[in-house]
């Protein structure tokens, strides 16, 4: 593993490096889905490199983006993020995205559980929230599986298919995340459960 920050059974999280920009651009340009955002756009590694460079300058950043890497081979397969980190109220918004070809295999759920462990047990945040567009039913289902509760609706939030669509808000407290993590752990094969995230351990100081 290369510079790991939070380690799970199959994936780990690390800081983004400037040389991840080529992969970022390649992943964005290979995207096959259009339902998540307004639409796709050609991406340049130059923009990603600048974004990563700026991202690393802040000692107490309000935006935290972490690379999701496979433990087996260190391949960088996507990113998870904390947006609008509020160190005073101890809240943040979560976001995540895996490259095409690595979805629907459990990597996203594991990466998200690692991000939440980082948020709750290392940054000691108290509450988390997340936003999805109402047509993004896949992400909404994933959030519920991760323990998030439906918090309400933001009307006319964006346009999709020629009509205005609402945004859905979800929130999550630490106890709910712990319960969801236990439920998720129970679904894992026994040999996986004992590694990385599956271990019972004290919160990292």
């Amino acid at each position: 593993m290369r510079n790991p920050l939070v380690v799970g059974s199959r994936v780990y999280l690390r800081a983004l490096e400037t040389n991840d920009a080529e992969t970022d651009a390649a992943q964005a340009n290979a995207e096959t889905e259009t339902f998540m955002y307004r639409g796709r756009a050609p991406a340049s590694p130059l923009a990603f490199a600048r974004w990563i460079e700026e991202d690393g300058k802040h000692p107490m950043p309000s935006e935290i983006h972490l690379a999701v890497c496979l433990r087996d081979g260190d391949r960088y397969i996507g990113a998870v993020s904390l947006h609008h980190v509020d160190y005073l109220n101890r809240t943040a918004e979560t976001g995540s995205g895996l490259a095409d070809g690595f979805r629907n295999q459990g990597f996203g759920t594991e990466a998200k559980m690692l991000l939440l462990e980082y948020a709750f047990d290392r940054l000691h945040l108290h509450a988390i929230h997340s936003h999805v567009f109402e047509h993004n039913t896949r992400s909404a289902a994933a959030l519920r599986k991760q323990g998030y509760r439906y918090a309400g609706r933001r009307k006319w939030d964006d346009v999709k298919g020629g009509v205005y669509r609402d945004g859905l808000l979800f929130d999550l407290l630490r106890e709910e995340w712990l319960a969801a993590r236990e439920a998720w752990r129970a679904t894992l094969p026994a040999d996986v459960r004992g590694k990385g995230l599956g271990r019972d351990r004290e919160p990292t100081p």
Binding site: N89, H126, A127, A151, R154, K155, W156, D157, L169, D171
Partner: protein, 210 residues
Amino acid sequence: MTGRAGDGNLYCTAFVRRNRAVADWEGSPVSVPYLTGMLVGLRALTLADAAQAGAWARGPLAMNATRAEAFLKDAHTDPWNPRRRYLAMVRVEDGEIVGGAAVAGAHARTGQLDVWAAPWLDPAERDRLCADAVRIAVPWLRDENELMTVTLAVPADAAETIRAAEDLGMVHGATLREHVARPGGRVDLLEYQALNPGWTIPAEEEASGA
């Protein structure tokens, strides 16, 4: 749905008339008559305000004048399309800066309004001032700037601000539990939205969003 925009403008005008006699600060070149309420007005920030950053800067962290000047210069690079518009909240009675406001997305389709009062004021006074700022800012954004939605997050213990939002017809759309830290506890954060009646939404879309 269809409707007529403009009621909020009348509301603002009424406030301006009532306060004209006491609003000394209106003579200032940065005063904004159409953003003047009963208690406070909203106006642009200038470099002269750097020394009072403790009032208009968001949050409890200290900001000295040097850093405040740098912040103000960085925040004011494009008068026509600001990323985020920062405003001073000024007490009508004496012109003192008693808080701030920020608008993200003005001149776009949707806007996020944020208002706060200076940390040295007591909580009830801060709530009253924020409520007044909401009463003048929301009609300005919804009716004059014609934003389709104006979103405002309000702590659940800010009763006056909540009342102001509801009086303006804002809709309570979401509750983020325990999102605000208070001494000795936490409170929920309520998200309100002003939905512009001047926008026309096709009936079938309205039904799908219900």
